[in-house]
């Protein structure tokens, strides 16, 4: 019975499995919440592809479904219906533990509020994803140091978050996102808590990472931040309103 079901599922999708250039493919993603007895559709059929090395901004006003989409892309949540392939893997059908593994390996989060552990040093914060995939200690420390070096914080590895400026904290978070060499870097309003000067520095860093070949998904509601991306997806009322290419890669 189970094998039949699996086979049926595979037959159904055999034509839609993306080729290896495509890092993200969503196909008719729906997310429905129950508010009391009322159904609320946060996403109403979102489909798009992102290729390796793209730098995409997802824009939309609050309530547009932008955050819901980000949670789905970040494998923090599963869709009510529809398929989501990340790096060739159908993640929309995965359970909690598999999703945790995907978050660990395939996704590097950068949050608006940095989300660093306050009592841990910069080095330990960057080390965390490696701890959860069982990387041996010496390799782990080496990788974390390299990652901090990439964001220009080699001289701050033993500082705690509260000993660092906002920009430096976000750099630590970026170093943490990079450390596992993920398929995508998923940045949720990464400059929301930073002043404009620091914001420019951070966006400059993303540009460098993009040039190095990283795939970046930037979620924001600010036009001038989204303008750093090469492609902008506008979300409105749970649907993709427009898919705009700002410049060639």
């Amino acid at each position: 019975m189970i094998e039949e079901a699996v086979l049926e599922r595979e037959l159904q999708f055999v034509g839609t499995v993306p080729d290896e250039r495509i890092v993200i493919r969503t196909d008719d993603l729906w997310k429905t919440y129950m508010m009391g007895s009322e159904e609320v559709h946060a996403l109403r059929g979102v489909s798009f592809d992102v290729q390796h090395g793209e730098y995409v901004a997802i824009m939309g006003p609050s309530g547009s479904g932008k955050s819901t989409l980000m949670n789905l892309i970040g494998c923090l949540d599963t869709p009510t219906s529809g398929q989501y392939w990340l790096n060739g893997k159908l993640v929309s059908e995965m359970d909690d533990d598999e999703l945790a593994r995907i978050r660990n390996k395939e996704i590097g989060f950068v949050f608006q509020t940095f989300n660093l552990l306050p009592r841990a040093s910069a080095l330990h914060n960057v080390e965390l994803p490696l701890i959860y995939n069982g990387t041996p200690r010496t390799t782990r420390l080496e990788m974390a140091k390299v990652s901090l070096q990439k964001v220009g914080l080699s001289d701050r590895i033993n500082h705690k978050p509260n000993e660092l400026s906002g920009g430096q904290r976000q750099r630590v978070a970026i170093a943490r996102a990079l450390v596992n060499n993920p398929s995508i870097i998923l940045a949720d309003e990464p400059t929301g808590n930073l002043d404009s000067q620091t914001s420019q520095e951070i966006m400059g860093l993303f540009e460098v990472l993009h040039k190095q070949g990283h795939t970046i998904i930037l979620v924001t509601h600010e036009h001038d931040i989204a303008a750093h991306a090469y492609r902008v997806l506008h979300i409105l009322d749970g649907r993709i309103n427009s898919d705009e290419r700002l410049r060639a890669y």
């Binding site: 949670n71 923090l76 909690d96 390996k105 552990l117 009592r119 959860y132 069982g134 943490r176």
Partner: protein, 409 residues
């Protein structure tokens, strides 16, 4: 394994970050373990003491007395027996020596208290005992100087004595006691030997004695007294059968009918140990419910504080989950934290108990010995308490939705 070390590190830093809170949380566990270890230390101390100092006869050795507390266990019965039972005499000893074929050795002793004097030094109320020469091998006495009695001393009722180390030091602070004549009661006895030091039992010195040959003792202090016989069974002989032989001899001599009870008492070290064992069982029976209750309360407090910790660190849990921590990772993290917290409490309780009890043993004659199992039990039981009461909070943490957790303040 990596996550386990990570969890241990987190646990230590979180315990250290809230020292006072951790301590208060752990009071129940600390008190519980403290009581267990204190009680266990005293019980073990008593056991070691009985083995080393009181029950010194060794296996296969037993006493035959007119009445003994260990044989009856009941104080009133003991007093009745002491009043009614016939005295055990030196003739009984000879009869036993002839009749108990399974005995390797059969000695007798009895004692009184006398003032003793040498020159102008006198010691009051020193234990004076008459012993048969074979008692040296039936007791834990050893000769430090000179010699013990031989049959010749006993048969000829010689006025010689063998003294304990306290007596030797007391009467002869700077001279050699051997060959000197000391006054015991009315008469003079010459010292032929000194015993090695035995130490104290429950604060009483065991070295304050003067021994006389049995027949000398009976001549001096009268033969109307009841002796204590000490019997060692032959190697390989069933001790019960030796008891039976003793019974047959004494019952025949006392002309008892088959339906009459023994009018004497046979007591071995095993029985002495059993008597103490029954006392320690009562103590343990009182202590362990107290301990159980405090560990239960301690566990509930730990559960409570862990629930608060989970709420406090919801965001941290969200961060960890977003970085790839599985439910299991988070579960392990909080289980390790609650077990380590509780185990740490057990450690504190144990150290407090050991410190206190070793302090007490220095100022009071309470025997103290830390049983080997105590630290292991203390740490493992308290760790298990933490583990058990940590399950619910840890499950809660593990089940948190990462999206909700990340948004928490």
């Amino acid at each position: 394994m990596h996550t386990f070390f990570e969890a241990a590190k987190i646990a230590i830093s979180s315990i250290l970050a809230h020292k006072l809170r951790s301590f208060l949380t752990l009071l129940g566990v600390i008190i519980g373990v403290f009581v267990v270890i204190s009680v266990a230390t005293v019980i073990e101390g008593a056991n070691v003491y009985i083995k080393e100092k009181i029950a010194t006869l060794g296996s296969g050795v037993f006493r035959v007395q007119k009445a003994s507390l260990t044989g009856f266990g009941d104080f009133q019965k003991f007093l009745d027996a002491l009043r009614k039972n016939p005295d055990l005499t030196i003739d009984d000893l000879y009869a036993l020596r002839a009749g108990v074929t399974l005995a390797d050795q059969l000695g007798a002793q009895d004692g009184t208290a006398q003032d003793i004097r040498y020159g102008n030094i006198s010691l009051e109320s020193v234990g004076v005992q008459g012993v048969t020469p074979d008692m040296i091998t039936l007791s834990n006495l050893e000769v430090a100087q000179g010699r013990y009695f031989i049959e010749f001393d006993n048969d000829n009722r010689r006025d010689v004595c063998f003294i304990g180390s306290d007596v030797a030091k007391g009467l002869f602070p700077s001279s050699d006691p051997i060959g000197q004549e000391i006054r015991v009661g009315r008469d003079k006895f010459s010292v032929i030997g000194v015993a090695t030091e035995l130490g104290t039992v429950l604060g009483f010195s065991q070295d304050n004695f003067v021994l006389l040959p049995m027949n000398t003792f009976l001549k001096e202090y009268g033969s109307r007294r009841s002796l204590t016989f000490v019997v060692r069974a032959k190697k390989g002989a069933d001790v019960e059968r030796v008891h039976d032989q003793v019974r047959v001899v004494l019952r025949t001599r006392h002309k008892l009918n088959y339906n009459q009870a023994d009018d004497f008492s046979i007591a071995s070290d095993e029985e002495t140990e059993q008597l103490f064992g029954s006392i320690t069982k009562v103590v343990a029976g009182v202590a362990f419910p107290v301990v159980g209750t405090s560990l239960l309360i301690g566990g509930i407090v730990i559960m409570n504080i862990m629930l608060a910790t989970v709420t406090e660190r919801t965001r941290e849990i969200g961060i960890r989950k977003s970085l790839g921590a599985t439910r299991r990772d988070i579960l392990v993290q909080f289980l390790v934290e609650s077990s380590m917290l509780s185990g740490f409490g057990g450690l504190i309780g144990m150290l407090m108990a050991i410190t206190l009890m070793s302090g007490v043993s220095k100022i009071a004659p309470v025997p103290v010995a830390v049983p080997l199992w105590a630290p292991i039990i203390a740490i493992s039981v308290s760790t298990l308490v933490g583990l058990f009461f940590g399950i619910y909070p840890a499950n809660r943490a593990a089940g948190l939705d990462p999206i909700v957790a990340l948004r928490a303040d």
